[in-house]
């Protein structure tokens, strides 16, 4: 395994900033987003130029990359899946972006070379690059940025984006001149949160004219023009997407690769691992853990095991009488042995134990503290006792019968559901009936609330609680599938959004966490991780400390030492 990169730090991400920023050529890095790091009010990056971290990157070669690529549609702004981002990301640029050289820990310029934030924190002004062209030859201007963000912030009919709530306080977007744009907020939000929102990989800049020509729907168009380092050549559905280098890319010298072939291979599948190990791929994303281990044991190959912006959780339908009682939900929460649940799927998907907050973020209760809390302890005796008492107090000492547990066809869900069924039956005498359904049926039933329990993944854009507290747990939050509401929690959400002082904010987050421990909005099963594997000749990338697989997917600094 290559020692070029620092090993991933298990729990704190900030500790790494020093080392990885130094590794970044030019060190324009701007520490952001993951906690109390304060950002300057303005940033001048007019001389910024990105290049590979290694001294003499080679030009040329076609990267063979394996990743899921069967999206329901091609509209990145409306998507929440790697199926879009994993392939389409390299065709577009953002306003500002996460630094590929330090694993996305810092934010660097992109189509905006510099920016200013007004002292009151309510105006964000971005200065755009001149002379940038879209793949169809058109010039890039501030109007394109405005059209892009307008679409996300004030969705047109039939459009929905998981990123819309991030910009809830955005009141207006003004084009100051052809290459200057300003965003006005109705009230300030922490800078790290706002810049993180702008730097989200999902917010790709598309052409205003493209949007107008297509009636603001990009769902069915696989190759609408971007400004990114690669452009589409040919796409064969469910097989391969061939991209070629954009010779007019604004960042001189980039990209190094002549092209990329994205092979469609399902995540965690034996096919993906086998294709990489057999040498049919140079790089594979979303490997199963067994393949990762093989990769790490193979000379000439390396792998990474990093964090993902996804919680896997059981949704408990709060509209069912028994489960409206927070005591029952806490009892269920207490008896799930999370270490076992992570272990159950160890061959299928990499996972991590955690509670209601990203366990590796600065906002989380540190792991050693968490391990002392009932429900997370290695010795479950106390948790089981409390759980039984709670059930008795709620009037369910004899358990609950005929609980409908709906599961979607997926390896991890099937395994977990059986394990959870066993835990609940044996400890609390809650009898669940497993009901496996096809994906589309699952959507229907989940939407209609026709389930008692179901397991699903929920994604957030940012590691910042303001994002997912609103989306996952907030009243009427777009991903509040349990239909949970707790007034104490709800009263904490807005103060957390508004609080600019990090220490105070953290304290508020802790209070909210305490509420959720007693009245769980969902039952955390595990937090997802991602495994990548590649041959050592693939250079110019650093996935070790990614948060998710949606922000750093440009491939502009990739090169092959072959």
């Amino acid at each position: 395994m290559s020692n070029r990169y620092p090993p991933p730090a298990p729990w704190t991400r900030r500790g790494l900033l020093g080392t990885s920023a130094a590794a970044a050529a030019g060190a324009y890095g701007l520490s952001l987003g993951l906690g109390e790091a304060q950002t300057p009010g303005s940033f001048d990056g007019s001389a910024f130029k990105l290049q590979a971290p290694e001294p003499n990157p080679k030009r040329g070669g076609v990267l063979r990359y394996g990743v899921l690529n069967a999206p329901a549609h091609f509209d990145v702004h409306q998507s929440g899946t790697v199926s879009n981002m994993g392939t389409q990301g390299c065709m577009y640029d953002n306003l500002i972006r996460r630094n590929p050289l330090d694993s996305g820990q810092t934010i660097i310029p992109d189509l905006a070379h510099s920016w200013e934030i007004s002292p009151d924190g309510k105006t964000y002004t971005f200065f755009l690059r001149k002379g940038v062209t879209f793949h169809d030859g058109a010039d890039f201007t501030a109007e394109d940025v405005k059209a892009t963000y307008q679409r996300i912030i004030q969705p047109p009919r039939g459009f929905s984006s998981p990123r819309t709530p991030l910009f809830a306080t955005m009141s207006e977007i003004n084009v100051r001149d052809s290459h200057t744009i300003e965003f006005k907020l109705s009230e300030p939000r922490p800078q790290s949160f706002m810049l993180g929102a702008f730097a989200s990989g999902w917010n790709i800049i598309v052409r205003k004219k493209t949007l107008e020509d297509n009636n603001y729907s990009l769902r069915q168009i696989p190759d609408y023009p971007g400004t990114g380092p690669f452009r589409s050549v040919n796409r064969i559905d469910k097989e391969v997407w061939v991209m070629e280098r954009n010779p007019d890319y604004w960042n001189e010298g980039l990209p190094y690769l002549d092209g990329i072939e994205f092979y469609h291979l399902p995540p965690f599948s034996p096919q993906l691992g086998a294709a990489l190990l057999a040498g049919n791929l140079d790089y594979a994303r979303l490997l199963d853990p067994v393949s990762l281990k093989t990769v790490q044991d193979t000379p000439g190959m390396s792998g990474a095991d990093y964090y993902q912006s996804v919680i896997q959780a059981i949704w408990v339908n709060n509209e069912r009488e028994a489960f409206r009682d927070p005591r029952v939900r806490r009892a269920i929460h207490l008896v799930l042995d999370r270490a076992v649940l992570v272990d159950v799927v160890r061959d299928v998907a990499p996972m991590l134990v955690g509670g209601f907050i990203y366990p590796f973020s600065d906002f989380a209760t540190p792991p050693d503290k968490l391990a002392e809390r009932p429900g997370y302890q290695s010795d479950p005796t106390a948790a089981i006792r409390e759980a039984r008492e709670l059930m008795a107090a709620a009037g369910y000492a004899d358990g609950i019968k005929d609980v409908d547990f709906m599961i979607r066809e997926a390896a991890a869900f099937k395994l977990w559901s059986v394990a959870v069924q066993a835990m609940l039956r044996e400890i609390l005498n809650i009898q669940t009936n497993l009901r496996t359904v096809q994906v589309s049926v699952w959507f229907d039933e989940a939407l209609a609330g026709k389930f008692d329990f179901t397991i699903s993944a929920i994604v957030s854009t940012l590691i910042d609680p303001s994002d997912y507290f609103n989306a996952w747990y907030g009243k009427d939050g777009p991903q509040n599938y349990s239909r949970w509401f707790n007034s104490k929690f709800q009263d904490l959400v807005l103060p957390i959004d508004r609080e600019l002082d990090d220490a105070k904010r953290k304290d508020l987050v802790r209070q909210a966490e305490a509420v959720m421990e007693q009245d769980p909005p969902l039952i955390p099963v595990a937090w997802e991780k991602i495994n990548d594997g590649w041959y050592d000749y693939v250079k110019g990338h650093n996935p070790y400390n990614y948060f998710g697989i949606y922000d750093v997917v440009r491939f502009d600094t990739f090169w092959m030492d072959k």
Partner: protein, 318 residues
């Protein structure tokens, strides 16, 4: 003779009409709202009733059923098979692109089944109750019972972990890279072929046994014609007729069986497209693929019947 062929074609057409109705009805009673599948839960909840109506109309799902059916039939006739609900792919393009692999697998498997099944059947029939016969029978009985896709999985696993072998990642047409193409199709074709060979061998054996007892074969023998000639000239041609018919009937195994086998081998053919469509509930793709597979099945059997008529004097001289 021509009248017979025409009549057979007519029946085939009528059958396809019935098939199309069944397929259409099945695909319309599928549970699950296609818009939920297409837009996802969050997207779906944000659609107004008006939006939903608009998108259903765009997908062609809001017309009266009869109109939808007639439109589809029109599409089938013109070869413009509509578009997938996802990624806007043309179904006709997909069939043209993925079809050749599946066809190759099917044809190759039939060839393999004859190359394997016939000799085994003939040896069994000519030397009944010998070791060779017993061995051949046991093999053929065994292959009747082994599920093809399971055999496929075992082969893939063995190849993968004994030899680190992995078939190419994408479909390669025969005329572009025959070697890569062969690597993709040979496994599935072999598994499918072995399964059919078992039937072919049994049928060849029984049919040859019957023919050998016929008077004209006895006569030939009595006349002193050498044994090889008796078999080759007199017995085999007649014994082969039912085997040809069987091969047509076995097309059902080839077409149906190829789906899980393509899945087991990871072949980017039509069978896997069908599985994806099943998972995604892509009605347009499923509807057309199920119809296509049945169409091929019927067509092959019409052709077999016509061939049969051609060779069978009783019909030929009618």
């Amino acid at each position: 003779m021509y009248e017979y062929i025409l009549r057979r074609l007519g029946f085939g057409l009528m059958t396809m009409l019935g098939v199309s109705i069944i397929v259409f009805v099945l695909m319309r009673v599928l549970p699950g709202d296609p818009l939920v599948a297409i837009f996802g839960m969050e997207g779906f909840t944000k659609l107004t009733a008006e939006d939903r109506a608009h998108y259903m109309a765009e997908l062609g799902l809001s017309d009266p059923l009869v109109v939808q059916y007639l439109k589809w039939m029109g599409d089938v006739v013109t070869g413009e098979l509509g578009r997938s609900f996802f990624r806007d792919e043309s179904v006709a393009d997909m069939i043209v692109r993925r079809g050749p692999l599946s066809v190759e697998i099917g044809v190759l498997s039939v060839v393999i089944s004859w190359l394997l099944g016939l000799p085994v059947g003939i040896i069994s029939a000519l030397r009944p109750n010998t070791v060779a016969d017993t061995g051949a029978r046991i093999m053929s009985i065994l292959f009747l019972a082994v599920p093809g896709f399971w055999l496929g999985i075992l082969i893939v696993l063995a190849l993968l972990f004994q030899f680190g072998y992995k078939a190419p990642l994408t479909g390669v047409p025969l005329w572009v890279d025959p070697w890569a193409n062969l690597q993709i199709v040979i496994g599935p074709a072999l598994v499918l072929g072995v399964g059919q060979a078992a039937y072919i061998a049994r049928m060849a054996r029984s049919s040859l046994l019957e023919v050998i007892r016929e008077d004209y074969v006895r006569t030939a023998r009595a006349k002193g014609v050498i044994e090889r000639l008796v078999v080759n000239r007199h017995a085999l041609p007649n014994a082969l007729l039912p085997v040809i018919t069987l091969s047509g009937v076995l097309m059902g195994i080839v077409l149906g069986g190829s789906i899980p086998i393509e899945q087991a081998f990871g072949v980017p053919g039509l069978g896997r497209a069908m599985i994806t469509a099943v998972i995604e509930r892509d009605v347009m793709v499923m509807q057309n693929l199920v119809f296509l597979y049945s169409f091929v099945f019927v067509l092959v059997n019409v052709l077999v019947d016509v061939t049969y008529a051609w060779f069978d004097p009783r019909i030929h001289y009618q």
